[in-house]
């Protein structure tokens, strides 16, 4: 054996009964090890033996160490190893160190499935959404995954079909079947009032994302869409616009409601009346933005500025304006909402409202796992996030 003899110092005892209780190479090898007093610097030999044992496996791999192996090697019971793993306070420091060393040396990792079964709960976090906005979903995912990185949690994504009548049943079965640790629900699904009760009953932690405070701080991470929209419209007013059109979002979306209310709020503040005809319905899609803006352009006099409730529709406005030969921002100012990458890919780049999607995703994840692990840090994650106006090139004072 290549390893120097400083690695193994003393053979204390051998447990023959156990030696014969297993037949696979890996366990025998580790069994022998369990009787060896481990001196410092044994890391090499441990790794070596473990690797050799693995090599003997017929399956070719995944000959994972179990808690029993670690217990044998440390000369303690599996429960003690379990205590080390779970940072139980009632444990001698000396014992803890010894076991931790073995764990570190062998690279042992507890089997998540076994833990899940014993605990009745998984280390999986579900991301549930019915959102048509890919960009938003992905940013959210990114934020959540950032927060989960380095933890034992994994993210399971679960889109649901809002069309099917059994959305709630789907979610419920997902949550209970997989014994999820918790779920993060994205809008517009998250705006459903039945959700809290349903998830509570299922005994599932949850955090809802949204554009307004629909729930308490423990279960909600929200942006303040109303104020943000108002801020955007105030910017238009500040530039001198007073004929401002709105392209609203689809009915049933809370964000659409909030943004519209912010729009109306800002106009009311400035004492600007809003003719019904200045509000066009949109569906948060590029095409609906085009269609809606056609309606606004047809007015006489037409608006000098348009606030679209999301960027896709704002891009539609821009597209429609170009088709009509209107110069943006000279003849028409446009503001969008969301700050998607699209805003900088079009010409002129769109002034828009940025809400911190990824940061909110991160906060949601931390909120969820914080309720379990980091309870000590009482610095609760914020739950209301502010948006900011990003000024680009699509707003200018009215030409007249």
């Amino acid at each position: 054996m290549a390893a120097g003899d400083d690695t193994v110092t003393t053979i204390l005892s051998i447990d023959p009964a156990w030696m014969h209780s297993r037949v696979t190479g890996v366990n025998s090898a580790i069994g022998a090890l369990s009787c060896i007093h481990i001196a410092s610097g044994t890391l090499g030999i441990l790794r070596y033996i473990v690797r050799m044992a693995k090599g003997h496996q017929d399956e070719g791999a995944s000959a994972k160490l179990t808690i029993n192996d670690i217990a044998r090697m440390a000369g303690v019971s599996k429960k003690t190893v379990s205590r080390v793993i779970n940072r139980s306070p009632l444990l001698n420091q000396e014992t803890r160190d010894k076991v931790e060393k073995i764990i570190a040396d062998t690279g042992y990792v507890p089997n998540p499935q076994a833990r899940a079964l014993a605990l009745g709960r998984n280390f999986l976090i579900g991301l549930v959404f019915d959102n048509p906005n890919a960009q938003m979903v992905l940013s959210m995912q990114k934020g959540i995954l950032e927060a989960l990185h380095g933890t034992e949690f994994e993210l399971v994504v679960r889109p649901v079909d809002r069309g099917s009548g059994s959305v709630m049943e789907d979610i419920l079965s997902f949550v209970t079947r997989q014994r999820l640790f918790g779920v993060i629900v994205l809008p517009p699904l998250s705006e459903n009032d039945m959700l809290p009760q349903l998830l509570d009953e299922a005994g599932c932690r949850y955090v809802r994302m949204g554009s307004a405070l629909l729930d308490d701080a423990e279960h909600m991470v929200a942006s303040n869409d109303r104020d943000a929209a108002a801020e955007a419209v105030r910017h238009l007013i500040g530039q001198g616009h007073h004929r401002i059109g709105l392209i609203a979002g689809p009915h049933g979306f809370r964000s659409a409601k909030e943004r519209r209310e912010g729009f109306e709020m800002a106009l009311a503040e400035a004492g600007i009346s809003l003719p019904r005809s200045f509000v066009a319905d949109g569906q948060y899609t590029f095409e609906s933005g085009i269609a809606a803006s056609e309606n606004l352009f047809a007015l006489s006099p037409p608006p000098t500025a348009i606030f679209a409730c999301n960027d896709e529709m704002a891009a539609g406005v821009l597209y429609a304006a170009r088709l009509r030969g209107m110069d943006v921002p000279e003849q028409l100012s446009i503001i969008g909402f969301d700050d998607t990458p699209l805003t900088t890919r079009v010409w002129p780049p769109l002034t828009t409202v940025r809400w911190p999607i990824a940061a909110m995703g991160r906060a949601a994840a931390l909120k969820l796992i914080g309720t379990a692990i980091g309870e000590e840090s009482e610095v609760s994650e914020p739950y209301l996030f502010n948006s900011i106006l990003i000024r680009r090139g699509s707003v200018a004072p009215p030409s007249s």
Copy 2:
């Protein structure tokens, strides 16, 4: 009790020992049920009792039925229930029907964690990627989830940091820790040659996505980027262009290599020489597209058409052209690659190459789970997908 007496016909026997072996309400209730002969039309009462039992739970919910409960109710052993669940052939049809009815009536669902532990394998599919292209990742996810819908599989997403030196270790630990059923790996990570061996050793099924056939049909789903790029360039040549610039993708991306080779192939076919200066390096980003096109515009004579290796860069070309006051497509034709939503949001809409991302994701997922469940349908999923040229408004004959 509201239910009519047709629901319960005969009380056969009671097992008092068992009755006292459990204390929770749900189990007691079901215990009592186990002694009742179930007549047709008992669905209602079963649901009722189960619901009542659930209500008695202190936890408020998740008082799940276990295989033991079903076994009691059916008057068979748990192993028999297990056989029913797993469609074991060595089982009497009569017994099977009886158990299946109970399962259907109670809505029993086996605990995935317990199965995972016993089987040593999870019903989870991992999606591993290091891709900066959000749109692509999401489309892929969509396709995969479509294929997984209705199955017992769930999707676990796992982005890895290509920057960190331990990418392979990360993947390996992810795969072995979670005992994943299999993984789908997205480019450019999927192009790594070490991957197959690594995953094989880990005993993990895998399917790689890519832009060329890097692996056998069982482990690969690929698009044919080279031919698609050539086709796009042929379109430009067919329009009369012969001074065609290329904005290449980043080194190390197989797709960049394939697309470039397709570009060169088409030019060579047509006998068009390619000056080195007509090839500009890009990074697949909007900004790099702008920068690269500036280099091409500075040539004299400049190219009359540009093939950008993805849509982001093509949009950059368009942006740069506008800044220079060049008309597209009159003074410059542009073709992109990927057919992202961006292509229709800009003006003019970009001619581009569409590859069936979602369909490929679906195929990858089916390939993965097909190796286990649907082996009988020998109609293997296709593994090489063709792309098509989408003609929009950014290509026209050269002006001169």
